[in-house]
Each structure stands twice: as structure tokens, then as C-alpha cells.
């Protein structure tokens, strides 16, 4: 998966042997790392998985409205990418933003409350699922227009350099967003002005129901960095350590040299595009989906840590119930929170 050469042509479907190879690769990466560090990665990914499962449940109960895009299957990307960040760093991503918010350490409660449209939500119930924000943590949204936040990220990086803040900006978007003009204009600006930003393409192979082959004239998306003379990398988006290592390098390049990087993370979405889209049927078969499920980033990482003797079944069970507990509390918090008051409609339109 790391080299892009093999990747042109038909949509990539891994066979078992590949999966095994990836497992071995991950074990190699995990060896000699601090066990606590590895356990934290697992915990974050599992938190996202359980949170999203609960969000799905709440959506079907009608407690969540609007568009709700789940992150199930892609957890390794946000966790692997965001973990290397410093507290002052910034993150922007698309509407598929629950995982990134949790990976950044935002509390599940205010996130769930936002999905419920409650006043205690991280955007006061005004933003919703697609517009999560937490300025204190440098979590600058949650953006619902495809590509719309790609220039913003360049601007956030511009500020950091202008104000000399040693702040790195991560910008996440899907593979279908690379075709839009904002991508082209922003990457050129980022390289031209040497901005400390890392652009991460989360290539989950589909933009809604459309496979990448139908939307991009090239398959190896990181090649597009060539148009801007920008540093590039491809990481295995189903391997949290591959993402972590690739990002660590890019983040250092940004922090030390004020240089941008374009990273393609090869991943896959295990659920529908949004809650209103079935997981399979229209544009992919159950078989295709199930084959990809073999690459489940959490399953894979769990077995890696087990194989290395860092965790065991008991640990996993404890962790899972602990996390389910936390997620349930977020629902209780959201449930018990008040709706915004009618007069809240009129605030936050203009600053004094």
C-alpha cells in the first residue's frame, strides 16, 4: 500500500495474504514502542468506534437530525494523525468530523449534545454534526462544503507563521475533494508561501456513491503534489502506526521548516456515506465491504498488541466497557441538556 505505483487501475481490494502482510508490518512498527503509548492509540480508536455506533443508534431514534456522517473504518487516520500534535496546533476537517474531534480530546458529552442540537453542544447546538468546533483545543471545524476548508487551513497556517507561534495545522478531506478548485489554489499558495500545514487526503475510495476512478484522472493522489513541488507521502490509513509515523515526519517538516506536505491515507468507510445512505447496495457489494472489513484498523491493532503481549482479552473487555460507559454518559448529558432558547437564534451573528 505504501508505494502508489501498483495502485493505478481497478479499485483496490486486499486479499487475505495482503492482510497478513499488513499485520506483520504493523507488529514490526509496534515493537520497541512504549506500551502505554500503544494502548492510548487503541483506546482513542475504540472510543471513536463506540461513539459512532451510538450516534447511529441515536440518529435512528430521531435524536440527531440533519446529515450525520460516521467515521467507522477510518479511525486510524484521525488518531494516527492527531496524536503527534502539540497543544497549540490546529485541526480542520470535513463534515465527517466526530472522529477528529474525539481524537483531539474533545469531550464526548458536548459533541453528542451538539449532535442533539443542545445548548451545551460544542457549537451551542447551532452547528450540528457537520460543524463541530472547539477553539481552545485548536479544533477549527467541521466544514460542510467540500473543499471549502482547504484554503482556511492555509490561512490558519499563515497566521501561525505570521505570529511566530510554532503552530502546525492539519487539514483533512476526502479523496473526492482533491478535484475541486480550492485544493489546487490552496496547495499552490501553501508551497509558494511556505506555510506550516499538512494536507491529509482520507482516501476511502468513494465520494458518496462515486468511486475514485470516476472522479480523478489519476489514481495515485499524492502525485498531485508534483504540481506544487510539495513534499508528499502515502500512508496505510488502516494502520494507526503507519499514519502516526508519516504524520510525525510531515509535522516536523512544518514545524521546523515551515513547509507543507500532502499525505494520502488509504482507508475505507465501513458504513454508508451518511446515515441516509445504506452501507452497501447501490455502489458496492456486501462482499466488497466484508473483504475490506478484514482490514479493520481496530481489529488489526488489537491483535498486534495481543501478539506483542501488551494487552489481553481481559484488558480489552475492561477497556470496552469503560468506553461504552463514557459514551452512554455522553448520551445522558445530551439528553438532559436544554435546547437553545428562542433568543439564542439572534446571537453570534455579529461580534460587537
Amino acid at each position: 500500500m505504501k508505494s502508489g505505483n501498483s495502485s493505478r487501475g481497478a479499485v483496490h481490494v486486499p486479499d487475505a495474504s495482503v492482510a497478513d502482510a499488513q499485520l506483520v508490518e504493523q507488529q514490526e512498527r509496534a515493537r520497541h514502542r512504549d506500551p502505554q503509548f500503544l494502548k492510548d492509540l487503541l483506546e482513542k480508536m475504540l472510543l471513536i468506534r463506540r461513539f459512532e455506533e451510538k450516534a447511529a443508534e441515536m440518529y435512528t431514534l430521531g435524536k440527531i437530525g440533519g446529515f450525520c456522517h460516521l467515521y467507522i473504518g477510518q479511525e486510524a487516520v484521525s488518531v494516527g494523525a492527531i496524536t503527534p500534535l502539540e497543544p497549540q496546533d490546529a485541526i480542520l476537517c470535513s463534515y465527517r468530523d466526530h472522529g477528529h474531534a474525539l481524537a483531539r480530546g474533545m469531550e464526548p458529552g458536548p459533541i453528542m449534545a451538539e449532535l442533539f442540537g443542545k445548548k451545551t453542544g460544542c457549537s451551542k447546538g447551532k452547528g450540528g454534526s457537520m460543524h463541530l468546533f472547539d477553539e481552545r483545543l485548536g479544533f477549527l471545524g467541521g466544514h460542510a462544503i467540500v473543499g471549502g476548508h482547504i484554503p482556511l487551513a492555509a490561512g490558519v497556517a499563515f497566521s501561525a507563521k505570521y505570529l511566530n507561534q510554532q503552530r502546525v495545522t492539519l487539514c483533512f478531506f476526502g479523496e473526492a475533494a482533491v478535484n475541486i478548485g480550492a485544493f489546487h489554489e490552496s496547495l499552490n499558495l501553501a508551497q509558494l508561501w511556505k506555510l506550516p500545514v499538512v494536507y491529509i487526503i482520507e482516501n476511502n475510495e468513494f465520494g458518496m456513491g462515486t468511486p475514485i476512478l470516476k472522479t480523478s484522472a489519476i489514481r495515485d493522489l499524492s502525485e498531485k503534489a508534483g504540481s506544487y513541488d510539495m513534499a508528499r507521502a502515502v500512508v496505510d490509513g488502516m494502520d494507526v502506526l503507519s499514519v502516526y509515523d508519516g504524520l510525525s515526519e510531515a509535522i516536523e517538516r512544518a514545524r521546523k521548516e515551515d513547509l507543507p506536505t500532502l499525505i494520502e491515507a488509504r482507508t475505507y468507510r465501513f458504513v454508508g456515506h451518511s446515515m441516509s445512505d445504506p452501507a452497501h447496495g447501490a455502489y458496492r457489494t456486501r462482499e466488497e465491504l466484508n473483504e475490506h472489513r478484514q482490514r479493520d484498523p481496530i481489529k488489526r491493532f488489537t491483535s498486534t498488541l495481543e501478539t506483542l503481549g501488551i494487552i489481553n482479552q481481559e484488558y480489552i473487555d475492561d477497556l470496552d466497557s469503560k468506553i461504552r460507559e463514557v459514551v452512554d454518559q455522553s448520551v445522558t448529558f445530551a439528553d438532559e441538556s436544554p435546547d437553545p432558547a428562542p433568543e439564542d437564534m439572534y446571537t453570534d451573528v455579529y461580534l460587537p
Binding site: G65, G66, F67, E114, G117, K118, S123, G125, K126, G127, G128, S129, M130, H131, H143, A144, I145, V146, G147, G148, A176, A177, N179, I180, G181, G207, M208, G209, T210, K214, T215, S216, A282, Y283, D339, P340, P342, D344, M345, Y346, V349
Partner: protein
């Protein structure tokens, strides 16, 4: 007459026009294999094949401009905006190219294109995905703007829009897609620029388009109970606007309330008010009132979203004021 959904009426219109005219083709995001984000284009890829039904990359500016170029050279593109919010990215091609090409070329190159898709608020889609932008398009000479409110209008107006030799901005209400209504059997069209009285009345004129027509009709029903007989005028086409039908109604009722989903400031309602007070000043017994969306971005919260949109109660209250019933 068959009773079909708004969505199906639009689908029939495109299907019939594509059967009728080889040069009509459809493009947009998810319009083909996925049958449309809102299933409006269902089955069209199967019937007409990938040459005439094209799934585009997410490039509103690019594929809209491609549509303009195709329309300049013999084709009749139907360009679907998955939602009109995304048309903000395509405005240069729509305003500077599509709307002006005929003029700049001294009449040599027309742009017979339809840009269609859902507009307005849906179900808690929040600020970026809930905009009613028709007032913007109405400002631009060279464009026509159509906003149907019923399945029958949707079909007849879309067929006319596809046959029109100019660029037509055709805005559908996402929340109306499921609305069922009677649609005449077989071939028919409705001319652009002709309003329809959706409910005759004599005491007050309610001007409303798209989904607001239904809010106005609900209000009219209520008002009837209090003995106020409201006339509901649906312009159907906002540009060119059928001012004569509106004025006739005013001359009869001497009072008007304009209802629109969008933001108030510089909204289409202000233009309707201007037209009325200018051309029927002496007929007005009260100031014309407007009921509009609230002048703030659309909040996500469901209760707030409901407060944002005009509803029956606000229309009734406005009618009470123009009829001095309160």
C-alpha cells in the same frame, strides 16, 4: 389525472424531454449510478446510458462551465446542483458566462441550459446547507428563475425550462420532493413567466413561491374560518415575474403580504413590494407586509430551525395587521 410525487414529476419531465430531444443531456454529482442524492434522476442512466447521463467529480465551477460551453455549441445541458448551496462555487460561470454570453457575442451565442436542484432548508441541515438563494439569481439579467410549488407545476415548468433557449435556474424545494399531487396525463408544458392563483380570494393577496405557497394556503384556510378571504398568488417564475397577475389581485384586495423562505434584506419580496407600490400605489389600503426567514444564518437546532422559517401563524398575524384585525 395521475397522482405522483414532486420528485417523480421532475423525473418524468427530464425523461420525456430526453426522449424528445437527443441534444438534452444530464450531468451532476451522483445523478447516474446513484440515481441522484434525492433520487430525482432515478433510472435515467439506465434508460439513456452514460453518454447522456454523467456523474461528475465534485467540481461545481468546472462542470457548470462545461455545461455552458456545451450549450454554446448545440447541446441542452441539464446541470444538477446536488443542492443550490453549492452553486456558490459556480456563480462566475453562471453570471459572467451563461447570463452574458448572448449579449457579449452580439447575439451569436445563446446558452440553453437548465441548472436545477434543491434549494432552501431541509431537515436541520444547518447554515451552509439551508440557503434559499433565488433572490440572488433574480438580480441577474440574462437568467430566468423558476421555483415550482406543486408536482404539476414542477413537470410543466421543467419541460418548458429545458426547451427554453436561455439559461434557466430551476430551484426545487427539498422538502417538497415527497409531496404528492395530480399531474395531467401525457405531454404538457407550462409557459415560463406566468403566475397562477393557487386560491382565489377577495380580502387580501398572499404572494408566495415554492414551499411557501403551502404555508400561505394553510394560513388562508385558517383565515377563512375568521371570515377573511385570502387570495394566494404563486408567481411560479420569479424572473421574468408576472407582475400583471399580482397587480390584478392587489387591485381587487387592496392589501398584500409577501411570503418567502429566504432572508429579508434584498429578498425577492422587497422587489414584489416595490413593483406593487409603484404600480398600484393608489389601490393600497395598508402597507405591504413581508413574512420571511429570520435574518440570521440557519441554526442546526430543530426548535430554532422551525422558528427561522415562515409559518402559518406568522402569515396570519401579518394578514391581521394589513386588514387591521388586531
Amino acid at each position: 389525472m395521475a397522482v405522483i410525487a414532486f420528485r417523480e414529476a421532475l423525473n418524468q419531465a427530464m425523461r420525456e424531454e430526453m426522449q424528445r430531444d437527443e441534444t438534452v443531456f444530464l450531468m451532476g454529482e451522483e445523478v447516474g449510478a446513484y440515481n441522484g442524492a434525492y433520487k430525482v434522476t432515478k433510472g435515467l442512466l439506465d434508460e439513456f446510458g452514460p453518454k447522456r447521463v454523467l456523474d461528475t467529480p465534485i467540481t461545481e465551477l468546472g462542470f457548470t462551465g462545461l455545461g455552458v460551453g456545451a450549450a454554446m455549441t448545440g447541446l441542452r445541458p441539464i446541470v444538477e446542483m446536488m443542492t443550490f448551496n453549492f452553486s456558490l462555487l459556480a456563480l462566475d460561470e453562471i453570471v459572467n458566462c451563461a447570463a452574458k454570453m448572448l449579449y457579449m457575442s452580439g447575439g451569436q451565442l445563446g446558452v440553453p441550459m437548465v441548472v436545477r436542484g434543491p434549494g432552501g432548508a431541509g431537515h436541520q441541515l444547518a447554515a451552509t446547507h439551508s440557503q434559499a438563494l433565488e433572490s440572488w439569481f433574480c438580480h441577474i439579467p440574462g437568467l430566468k428563475v423558476v421555483t415550482p410549488s406543486t408536482p404539476a407545476d414542477a413537470k410543466g415548468l421543467l419541460k418548458s425550462s429545458i426547451r427554453d433557449n436561455n439559461t434557466v435556474i430551476f430551484i426545487e424545494s427539498e422538502v417538497l420532493y415527497g409531496l404528492k399531487g395530480e399531474v395531467p396525463e401525457g405531454e404538457y408544458t407550462i409557459p415560463l413567466g406566468v403566475a397562477e392563483i393557487k386560491r382565489p380570494g377577495s380580502d387580501v393577496t398572499l404572494v408566495a413561491h415554492a414551499k411557501m405557497v403551502h404555508v400561505a394556503l394553510q394560513a388562508a384556510e385558517e383565515l377563512e374560518k375568521e371570515g377573511i378571504d385570502a387570495e394566494v398568488v404563486d408567481p411560479r417564475t420569479l424572473r421574468p415575474l408576472d407582475t400583471e397577475t399580482i397587480l390584478q389581485s392587489i387591485r381587487k384586495t387592496n392589501r398584500a403580504v409577501i411570503v418567502e423562505e429566504g432572508w429579508p434584506f434584498c429578498g425577492i419580496g422587497a422587489q414584489v413590494v416595490d413593483t406593487i407600490q409603484h404600480q398600484a400605489f393608489d389601490y393600497l389600503d395598508a402597507p405591504i407586509l413581508r413574512v420571511t426567514g429570520i435574518d440570521v444564518p440557519m441554526p442546526y437546532s430543530k426548535p430554532l430551525e422551525h422558528l427561522h422559517a415562515p409559518d402559518k401563524a406568522r402569515v396570519i398575524d401579518a394578514v391581521h395587521r394589513v386588514t387591521y384585525k388586531n
